[in-house]
């Protein structure tokens, strides 16, 4: 079944539109939804997608590249450098450990040849960046130990895969050199050069990315921004990612790794956010496509031929990967629950398998059947681990490690002034400390188990888990709480929490942290009265201090700052109050608001800082007096 491109697009999109919301409904991650959609439209069920699924897979791998670029944008070079020990340590231990154990499995009990066993063990040692990072993002677990460890290991795998691609030709019985036509698209320009020159070229290309990031990309983006044509920014962003990928492929590095590096270089530039918002939707779509292609590529005929063998291999591989990951977690002293998350989270085989396996097949290291079997196993691990993760989260985690809640006698005051504080990061902890210094013990909700354990040690009443779960909020006692303070960092989570709480407990006092005026606006629309913009007070205070250093009087600045904040908040409320009915009008209003702000700024400038405040101004009295005297002179 081929048909036109349009027909294919419709098939994929329909699959996604049906399966992903369904998966979300059932509380599963979107990855699983895409995989299911892929299986559904694939050649063995509905048969909408046939052989071309493989091409789509290659195409969609670009989504992984984009994801790594976007992740790179989030990591400033300094932070990257500080992670080097975890990357090398955890990543090295995981890859080496998995390779050794799985090699033994393939070599002895399964009696495969030494070359095949080694190739398989390399494939098995890698995990899926796409699945893991997507899941981490969806559950906003990036900042936990589990998130950081996963990321470090995946990054190491991205690097090590370069060496694997270099090693595989050496396993080939055909003298290591191969005819050009076998190399396919990913032709490596340098393959015929001596090893020293290859290394040099690789180092040079990495340097090139760093230099280009600073001196080519940023000036280019500035030029593009100056034209004011929006789609050019999109084009430029794509140019950067594609350019880096191409360069990486030419020197035989993983494009994902190069993209990551490019992202890191651009993380400190002023275009960080623009690049993010431009590429994000494309990345999400391509990743979705990628997962669907993986689903479609599961070869059910191979499974049917040898269901027991494949089933056994599938379980053995997941088991080996899990055990090694568990060991690595123990070695690096991860807490039990974080360790279990890591164990299951990275237990699948990654998308590099598709690359490595077809490469080894082209070199005649693997037979067609061997490749197909492992491809199927790879796709199945990808489909199975999200389910395992779900089981882990629902059934095992609540019993080990950090418990969801801990019984503890509540003292009198806490009972009388019941306050629920959601989120105990930098923002929330300050709130908690200040409340505590007044004898108010807030009931805290947080999803970082390390923090939760520490807080419990400090004597706080802490509930561990996702604050957007009503049952958790209810066991934390929301029903008889006086107020709920949301100190969550993530706007989406905040909105979800607010909506849920407003619906079920409309009378509960809500104090909500907002990231910026846009989020504050949305919260106002949700009917939240008390909104605390984290970017307001501090920045005004900073501006005041700057002006003070320029010679302005502190007390005047103090009063002006208060005025400024008051005006700003009133303005926001004014706009929210005149809430428009339809979208079009909203855009108009928003534009009007910007115009208003411009007007306010202009007025600020014209009237000068003091004019709106005549208190304690003797000059005015003097002028009035003089005016009086002059007029009496005339008369």
């Amino acid at each position: 079944m081929t048909g036109s491109i349009l027909f294919q697009a419709i098939v994929f999109l329909t699959g996604a539109l049906i399966c992903v919301p369904l998966a979300k409904r059932l509380g599963l991650s979107s990855v699983l939804g895409y995989l299911l959609a892929g299986i559904l439209i694939g050649p063995y069920l509905l048969g909408f997608v046939g052989e071309e699924g493989e091409d789509i897979l290659h195409f969609a791998e670009f989504g992984v590249v984009m994801m790594l670029f976007l992740i790179g944008l989030e990591i400033e070079p300094k932070n990257f450098w500080s992670m080097r020990k975890t990357i090398l340590g955890m990543g090295g231990a995981q890859v080496l450990g998995t390779m050794i154990v799985s090699f033994l499995l393939f070599y002895y009990p399964m009696d495969l040849s030494y070359e095949v066993s080694l190739t398989f063990s390399m494939v098995v040692s890698l995990s899926s960046t796409a699945i893991t990072l997507q899941t981490l993002k969806e559950k906003s677990l990036f900042d936990t130990t589990y998130g950081a460890s996963s990321f470090s290991i995946l990054l190491f795998q991205d690097i090590i895969v370069i060496f694997m691609l270099g090693l595989i030709p050496l396993l080939s019985s055909e003298d290591g050199t191969l005819p050009d036509e076998n190399q396919g698209e990913a032709a490596n320009l340098l393959a015929n050069l001596p090893l020293g020159l290859q290394t040099l070229a690789i180092i040079l290309s990495v340097v090139l990315i760093v230099v280009a990031g600073r001196y080519l990309f940023v000036p280019m983006l500035r030029k593009v921004a100056a034209t004011g044509v929006r789609e050019l920014s999109t084009a430029a962003a794509f140019m950067i990612v594609c350019g880096i990928s191409l360069l990486m492929e030419l020197v035989g590095l993983s494009p994902a790794l190069g993209a990551f590096l490019g992202g890191v270089v651009l993380a400190t530039s002023e275009f960080k956010h623009e690049l993010e918002s431009t590429l994000e939707p494309f990345k999400d779509l391509l990743l979705g496509l990628f997962f669907m292609a993986v689903g479609a590529s599961i070869n059910f005929i191979v499974i049917k031929e040898n269901p027991l063998g494949i089933g056994g291999m599938l379980l053995a591989i997941i088991f080996i990967k899990a055990v090694v990951l568990y060991g690595v977690g123990a070695l690096f002293k991860l807490k039990m629950d974080q360790r279990l998350l890591l164990t299951v989270g990275l237990a699948q085989i990654g998308e590099f398998a598709f690359v490595l396996l077809s490469f080894a097949f082209e070199l005649n290291i693997l037979s067609k059947n061997q490749m197909d079997i492992l491809l199927v196993v790879t796709a199945l691990t990808m489909a199975l681990t999200p389910i395992l993760a779900l089981l882990n989260e629902r059934l095992i985690l609540p019993k080990v490690g950090t418990k969801e809640s801990e019984k503890r006698p509540i003292d009198h005051i806490a009972k009388q002034h019941k306050v629920i504080l959601v989120g105990f990061g930098h923002f929330g902890s300050t709130i908690g400390r200040f409340l505590r210094s007044h004898g108010i013990e807030a009931t805290i909700l947080d999803f970082d188990s390390n923090r939760v354990d520490f807080l419990r040690k400090m004597g706080f009443e802490v509930y561990y888990g996702d604050a957007t779960r009503m049952d958790l909020l209810e066991s934390a006692g929301i029903a008889d709480a006086h107020m709920l303070i949301s100190a969550l960092d993530h706007p989406d989570t905040t909105r979800k929490l607010v909506k849920m709480v407003r619906k079920k407990y409309p009378d509960l006092e809500l104090l909500v942290r907002a990231k910026n005026r846009y989020e504050a606006f949305e919260l106002l629309e949700l009917g939240v009265e008390h909104i605390y913009r984290e970017s307001l007070d501090t920045s005004v205070k900073m501006a005041s201090d700057a002006l003070s250093k320029l010679g302005f009087r502190k007390y005047t600045l103090y009063r002006q700052a208060q005025n400024f904040i008051k005006l700003d908040e009133e303005g926001l409320r004014e706009i929210a109050k005149n809430r428009p009915e339809d979208e079009k009008e909203y855009i108009f209003k928003a534009r009007e608001a910007i115009a208003q702000q411009e007007k306010v700024l202009e007025q600020d400038w014209k009237r000068g800082i003091y004019q709106n405040d005549n208190h304690w101004d003797s000059e005015q009295m003097r002028l009035a007096r003089e005016a009086g005297r002059n007029s009496s002179n005339v008369s």
């Binding site: 003091y610 003797s618 007096r625």
Partner: protein, 196 residues
């Protein structure tokens, strides 16, 4: 030589022609500490222990401020409320300020002539300053007559320059000696013969 602490309170100092000129010259004076309250505590959060230590190091305390509604600006009152603690400044154990001298330096928009029973302000400046006088007395300090710059609305530059000179001379006079005989005869320290 007596050391002098000038506690200065003006919520809009940058707009005050008179006080800017009066204060300008103070930092060149040896033995005089100028302490700008509104610049130090824009949020009214006074560091009490710091203020006490400052008081302990000086012999003469000057409350320098414009006269607003016949009193001092609010931060000065806050200072008095917070710093002059029971059993430190006053009360049975309150001996910290004993023997120190204290006075107001004030600026008024209206002329001195307006501050009398026939004038629109009805009372003299000294009468309006009674709360300060009594505060000083309760803290066992000796309260000196005020130094004033009055009628600032119509003060010419030359007159203002003269007032500034007088302010410095008055401070120097107090630094050398506070002979009660001379001061007792003055209604205001402006009247000290040595500075005229």
């Amino acid at each position: 030589m007596n050391s002098i602490l000038i506690l200065f309170a003006h919520p809009k100092f940058e707009q005050s022609r008179t006080n800017k000129r009066l204060v300008q010259q103070l930092d060149q004076l040896e033995g005089v500490t100028f302490h700008d309250l509104y610049e130090s505590y824009p949020d009214f959060h006074i560091n009490i222990s710091y203020e006490k230590a400052l008081l302990a190091r000086h012999d003469i305390v000057v409350w320098h401020h414009p006269l607003y509604w016949y009193s001092c600006p609010p931060l000065m009152k806050q200072w008095i409320d917070l710093v002059l603690e029971y059993n430190w400044a006053y009360g049975p154990e309150g001996k910290a300020l004993q023997q120190k001298k204290c006075l107001n330096v004030i600026t008024t928009g209206g002329l001195r002539e307006l501050y009398c029973s026939e004038g629109s302000n009805h009372y003299s400046v000294n009468e309006f300053l009674r709360p300060f006088e009594q505060t000083a007395r309760l803290c066992n300090m000796e309260y000196l007559p005020p130094f004033t710059v009055m009628g600032t609305h119509q003060l010419s530059d030359a007159e203002l320059a003269n007032k500034c000179k007088q302010y410095v001379q008055m401070l120097r006079f107090l630094q050398k000696d506070c002979s009660p005989q001379v001061i007792e005869d003055c209604v205001m320290l402006n009247d000290i013969p040595q500075i005229n």
